[in-house]
């Protein structure tokens, strides 16, 4: 009995010592990083043979159409992958270096143990007048204002931008989660309009040309959409920390962010070529739908500093953490500020 006690006490002591050593070992680099997140300078030398694996099909197309693609100072393996769930899956499979998403995927990646950082941020001018999403209302359901959402069944996808939007809309309407029924359903393809049309849900955020098609097809049956009145415009490039730690890849990513900004401007200045070369030629839409999407986009905005962006991201994190019962993380840690000014400078320089 005594021997056992002594033994366990000794083991306990060893455990405490090990724990302390681990704590010190880990806290040293962490402290340095937290104290000055942008202390390190972004490497600028791209060694011969550097390859970036990029999942950003729209920018790829814009670079091709504008001819900018020939100027990229590194090799690219393009992947036709975008959006939260797909990019995170590809990051985990170590098959992708950078992805194009909205604001939620980097948060969710962190919550699921994958360290990632945002390296570029693009928004829309007049975001409320040019929203990405509309709230689709099922045929025969009365929702005229956000307050009417009380008691409704709302499609909800926690890991996607659509999910955060639903929570923000509820917050803006002064409603709690218990005031509505959230129906978990990933937004993939036309899943949301189909769920609305078949009255499986009463309300769902739908985007782009699906809004137009939904109203065209089911408007006669009483389908409607209402604006949510919030900004839903963040578009980010994000990369796994492991990729950012590789100096060659980090330098190449810096250059990619530059071309990403130039591509965005090219798209805005060449709507006709963009509609014909992207929406019609590769997406199988007609020119009319392409025009609709270009009009919906409005003008883009790339801010020269991320202070406001980080504040907004923090409030999104706080809302999600509270509603989804997740640990609160610091928005600051999600951004690699070494990249902060690259895109805006690229636009000013040329």
């Amino acid at each position: 009995m005594l021997a056992v006690e002594r033994f366990s006490r000794r083991r306990f002591g060893a455990l405490v010592a090990a724990f302390a050593v681990t704590l010190v070992a880990f806290s040293a680099p962490f402290g340095a990083e937290a104290g000055s997140p942008d202390a390190g300078k972004l490497p600028s030398k791209i060694p011969e043979g550097t390859v970036l694996r990029i999942g950003d099909p729209e920018t790829q197309r814009a670079l091709e159409l504008s001819g900018l693609i020939n100027q990229l100072p590194f090799k690219v393996e393009w992947a036709n992958i975008s959006g939260g769930p797909q990019t995170i899956e590809a990051f985990r499979a170590n098959a992708l270096d950078v992805g194009s998403v909205a604001d939620i995927p980097p948060i969710h990646a962190t919550w699921t143990g994958l360290k990632v950082k945002i390296i570029a941020a693009k928004f829309r001018k007049e975001p409320v007048a040019h929203p990405i999403y509309q709230l689709g209302i099922a045929p025969g359901v009365e929702v005229k204002t956000l307050a009417d959402l009380r008691g409704k069944r709302i499609a909800f996808s926690p890991g996607q931008a659509q999910g955060a939007l639903v929570l923000r809309v509820l917050q803006a309407a002064g409603l709690k989660r218990e005031d509505v029924t959230l129906i978990e359903l990933p937004s993939k393809g036309d899943a949301y309009p189909v769920a609305l049309a078949s009255k499986q849900v009463d309300v769902a955020p739908i985007w782009g040309v699906l809004v137009k098609h939904y109203l065209h097809q089911y408007g006669a049956d009483g389908a409607t959409t209402i604006p949510h009145g919030l900004r839903d415009d963040p578009a980010h490039l994000y990369a796994p920390q492991a990729v950012l730690d590789d100096p060659a890849k980090a330098a190449a990513l810096g250059e990619y962010v530059r071309y990403w900004a130039l591509a965005a401007r090219w798209v805005q200045e060449h709507p006709k070529e963009w509609i014909a070369g992207y929406y019609v030629a590769t997406q199988g839409l007609n020119a009319e739908d392409g025009q609709y999407l270009v009009d919906a986009d409005g003008q883009f905005d790339i801010p020269p500093d991320w202070n406001d962006v980080i504040v907004r991201q923090q409030s999104t994190i706080d809302l999600l953490a509270r509603e989804l019962n997740r640990p609160r993380i610091k928005a600051e840690d999600l951004f690699d500020r070494r990249f902060e000014t690259i895109a805006a400078n690229a636009l000013n320089a040329s």
Binding site: G55, N80, I81, R92, A93, G208, Y214, Q217, G284
Partner: protein
């Protein structure tokens, strides 16, 4: 033993128990019937064009896609992927079935894992296959091959194991060597199962496309369907489905043709 009742029935009617003569183009009657129902339903307004567009508007969309050259491009990519997957899958499935069918040790090692794979949906395997094979063509072909080898294995193995022991005894009596035994008894005996497996496998190869072409693809019928879903273009989705249907029916017909040729020595209810 023939009871008086059976005896009486035998003499009373001279009805043939076999199936009788084959109906010309019989295989097409069922699908044609479906098409007629679809058309009538669309004309009569019983089918909502928003949930199932009419056959002629699907044909119109298909003609548009053909004119733009998109449909044939997607089809070529898909066909090449399916063919590669099918080739590997058939080769591996047959080999595994022979090893597992002909030896107790082989069975002990191989049969379990194949049965496990059979129970796991391909869609659920995709994340793992991405981890192992990346997001390129290798992963896609591997996924198709994995789906294909299952029916080949199961049918060939089962057919091989149900070869009548009379033939095995006969081979023994004739003092056949092992090679000759496999050539003369096992392979012909396993052939009917192999062909049934092949009929299923060809369809599985096409079906897998819709799954694998959702991952980092820029062409293929599955990609075409997935892209159309992003924009709510139901008519293009249906064109894709019709293409699958035609491919399935066509490939099945081809395999059956081979089957008839190769198994012409058999006399069965089908003849």
């Amino acid at each position: 033993m023939i009871t008086p009742a059976v005896q009486a029935r035998k003499t009373a009617t001279r009805r043939r128990l076999a199936l009788g003569r084959a109906i010309p183009f019989g295989a097409l009657i069922g699908p044609a019937f479906l098409l007629v129902i679809w058309s009538i339903g669309s004309i009569a307004g019983l089918i909502d064009p928003r949930t199932l567009p009419a056959p002629w508007s699907v044909v119109g969309t298909a003609i548009d896609l053909l004119a733009e050259g998109k449909l044939q491009d997607h089809l070529m990519t898909s066909a090449w992927r399916a063919a590669q997957g099918l080739a590997f899958g058939v080769l591996i499935g047959t080999t595994l079935a022979l090893i597992s069918g002909l030896s107790r040790l082989g069975e002990a090692i191989i049969d379990g894992p194949v049965q496990i794979k059979r129970a796991i949906p391909t869609l659920a395997l995709i994340p793992l296959l991405m981890l192992w094979f990346g997001i390129g063509e290798g992963m896609k072909v591997t996924t198709i091959a994995l789906a294909v080898l299952i029916p080949i294995y199961i049918q060939t193995h089962s057919s091989l194991r149900s070869i009548d022991s009379r033939y095995v005894e006969l081979a023994q009596t004739l003092r056949m060597g092992y090679g000759e035994f496999i050539r003369e008894v096992i392979l012909p005996g396993a052939l009917p199962g192999f062909f049934l497996g092949l009929r299923l496998a060809v369809t599985y190869a096409w079906l897998s496309l819709v799954v694998v072409e959702q991952v980092n693809a820029t062409s293929g019928i599955g990609y075409m369907i997935d892209l159309a879903r992003n924009y709510g273009q139901t008519d293009i989705v249906i064109v894709g489905l019709v293409v699958y249907a035609l491919l399935g029916l066509g490939c099945d017909g081809i395999v059956r043709l081979f089957q008839e040729r190769s198994l012409s020595w058999r006399r069965t209810l089908a003849d």
